[in-house]
Symmetry: C2
Subunit: 337 residues, 2 copies
C-alpha cells in the first residue's frame, strides 16, 4: 500500500470516530451548543464539506505510526481523533486570540457566535478531546491509556506555552533566533511529535522506537514550520493562496525576518519604521534575499528535515506504513523524495 | 474529629498539592507564563494571600468523601487538587466571558494581562488540572484513575454546557423555571457532585455508595445555588458584601425572578421595562416578596437540601468524616443542623 491508499482507507474512519466523539460526548439536550463544534469541524452550516474540514494530517500520522510499529491501526483511532479534536480546539481559541474572522474560507466560531461563546465552545471541544483520549483505555487497556494521556497533557501545556511566546513576541522588538525555536516547538512541533508517539504507544512499541518516532516528528514539525515561513515570503501566491510576501505585510516575526534583523541593517531600518505595505513587500523581500535570509531559511529547513529523516531511519521499522510515513514527511516539507 | 479540625489538617496539604501541580507541570522556562496562574491562584502578585485563594471547599469535599468511605485521604489529594484547578480554570474563562474585572477583591487575569493571554492561561490551567488528575494513577492505579477521569471529563462537558445556557439566557426573555435547573446543574451542581464521587472512587467505594454520594452532592449544589439566589435579592448587604438586591440590578435570571415573571404581572411589567436601578431595587424586591417568590425560593432550597441529606444518609456511612460532610453541607445551605 502507498500513502494515497492509506489516506483512502483511514480518512472515512477518522471522520466517523470524530463524529462519534462529538455527538457521543455532547448529549442531544445540548444540540444547540454542539452546533458550534459541528460547524467548526466542517460538518454543518454554511460552507460545510471536505474543504472546511482540513486535511486531517495529524490523525493520519497517528494511525500510520501505529501500523508502522506493527499495531492494529484501529486501536489507535481514539488517539487519532483526540489529537484532531485538540488541534481544532486550539484553532477556535487561537482565532479569538488573534482576532481572525475567517478560517478555511468560512467565518470563525467567534465571528459567528461572539467571543464569549467561542471561548466556551473551545473549552467544550478540549473536554471532548480529553474524553476521547480516555476512551483509548477500552481498546488498549488502562495502563497504556494513562501513559498516552500523560503525553497528551504535556503536549497541551506546550501548545499553550508556544502560543504564549507567539503573543508575547508581537509586543517586543528584541526577539532573536534563540527565542524563535521554543515558540515553534510549542506551536507546531509538539503536537506532531505527540501524534507519532501516540501511534507508537497504541501499538505497544518499545520506549526507544517511541522516542525515535517522537524525535522524527518533532524535527519534521520544525522543518515544516521553517518551510512555511519561507513560503510566507517567497512562496508563489497562486500556490499559497495568500498575497506575495504576506508574512512581511502582517509583520510576523518569522525566521527570515529574524535573520534579516540580525544580518541586514537595511532591512532592520525598514522594519523599525513600521508596517510594510503590499506595494513595498516585493522589494523588501528582495532585500531579505540579498542578505541571505532566503538561503539561510532553506538551509535550516533542509537541516531539520535531515535530522528528522535520520531519526525515522533509526527506528529500524520497515513496512508499507513506515514507507508511507516517509512519503508523508517529504511531502510536508516539499521534497519529492 | 470535627469539621474545623479536618479543615486544619487538609488545607495545608491541598495548597501544597496545588502548588506542586502548577510548578511541577509548567516548567521553569515558562515562568513568565506561569505567573498568570500563580497570580490567579492567590499565591503571587498584588493582594496575594488566603483571602485571594478562596475557601478550597471543593477539594475539602473530595478528601472528606474519601475518608468517609474508609479510604486514605492522601490518596485522593491529586483528585482534590484537580477539581480546584478545574474550578479555577473555569473562573479565568468565565471572567473573560462575563467581562468581570475583579474577583476576590483583585483584578482578574484578563483585566491584568488582556483577554487573549487570559484565554490561553485558562487553557494552560485546564491542562494542568488534567495532568494532575492523571497523576492519580500513581496512588490509586490506572484502572481507578481512568474511571475518575471519565467522570472528570463528563463534568467538564457539563460545566461548559451550563455556562452556554447561562449566556444564552441573558439574550432571551422567554426563560422559565424548567430552563433554570439544567443551567445551575451544569454551572454549580455537576462539579460538587464530581467532588463527592471522586472521593468515593479514590477510596475504592462501591458503585452504590458512589452514586448516593454523587446524588447528595448534586442536590446540595442545587440547594446552595437556590439559596445563593435568595441571598442575591434579600440577603443582608453587610453579610453578602454586595449591594442590597444586587441580582435585581444586574438583571440576572435567578429563581425568584423566574417565579416573579410567572406569577406577578406587576413584576413582569417592571422587568420588561428594562434595567432596575439601585434606588428601585428595594421596592421591586418587596413586590417579588409579596408575590411569594421569597417563600417559594426558601421552600425550594429546603426541599433540595432534604433530598440531598436523605441521599447522604442512604450511604449508611458512619464515621467522623461522614459527620463532617453533614456539617459542611448544612453550613453551605445556611442551616445550623
Amino acid at each position: 500500500m502507498n500513502l494515497d491508499q492509506y489516506f483512502q482507507m483511514y480518512l472515512p474512519e477518522i471522520e466517523l470516530e470524530l463524529k462519534n466523539a462529538v455527538y457521543g460526548f455532547v448529549p442531544d439536550q445540548f444540540s444547540e451548543f454542539r452546533k458550534m463544534l459541528t460547524y467548526h469541524m466542517g460538518w454543518e452550516g454554511e460552507g460545510a464539506g471536505s474543504k472546511a474540514q482540513g486535511k486531517r494530517l495529524r490523525p493520519i500520522l497517528v494511525l500510520l505510526s501505529c501500523e508502522a510499529c506493527g499495531g492494529d491501526w484501529r486501536s489507535a483511532l481514539p488517539a487519532a481523533a483526540a489529537v484532531e479534536l485538540l488541534h481544532n480546539f486550539s484553532l477556535i481559541h487561537d482565532d479569538v486570540e488573534d482576532q481572525s474572522d475567517t478560517r478555511r474560507g468560512r467565518l470563525t466560531v467567534w465571528a459567528k457566535w461572539g467571543e464569549a461563546h467561542a471561548i466556551n465552545a473551545g473549552d467544550l471541544l478540549f473536554s471532548v478531546a480529553n474524553a476521547e483520549m480516555i476512551s483509548l483505555s477500552k481498546l488498549c487497556g488502562s495502563k497504556m491509556a494513562v501513559s498516552a494521556m500523560e503525553l497528551f497533557q504535556e503536549t497541551c501545556i506546550h501548545l499553550t506555552a508556544g502560543q504564549y511566546l507567539d503573543m508575547s513576541y508581537e509586543k517586543t522588538n528584541s526577539i532573536t533566533m534563540a527565542d524563535y525555536w521554543p515558540m515553534i516547538e510549542g506551536k507546531t512541533a509538539a503536537l506532531i511529535s505527540c501524534c507519532a508517539q501516540l501511534g507508537a504507544i497504541s501499538a505497544g512499541a518499545s520506549e526507544s522506537v517511541r522516542q525515535k518516532l517522537g524525535e522524527f516528528a518533532k524535527f519534521l514539525g520544525l522543518a515544516f514550520q521553517v518551510q512555511d515561513d519561507w513560503l510566507g515570503i517567497w512562496g508563489d501566491p497562486t500556490v499559497t493562496g495568500k498575497s506575495a510576501a504576506s508574512d512581511l505585510i502582517t509583520g510576523k516575526k518569522t525566521i527570515p525576518v529574524l535573520y534579516g534583523l540580525q544580518h541586514s541593517s537595511e532591512f532592520q531600518k525598514r522594519w523599525d519604521e513600521g508596517p510594510i505595505t503590499e506595494e513595498e513587500a516585493g522589494s523588501v523581500a528582495q532585500v531579505l534575499k540579498e542578505a541571505g535570509a532566503d538561503q539561510f531559511t532553506m538551509f535550516e529547513s533542509n537541516r531539520l528535515t535531515d535530522i528528522s529523516m535520520q531519526a525515522l531511519r533509526q527506528t529500524e521499522l520497515n513496512n508499507d506504513a513506515f514507507r508511507a510515513i516517509e512519503e508523508l514527511a517529504l511531502m510536508l516539507v516539499g521534497r519529492k523524495s
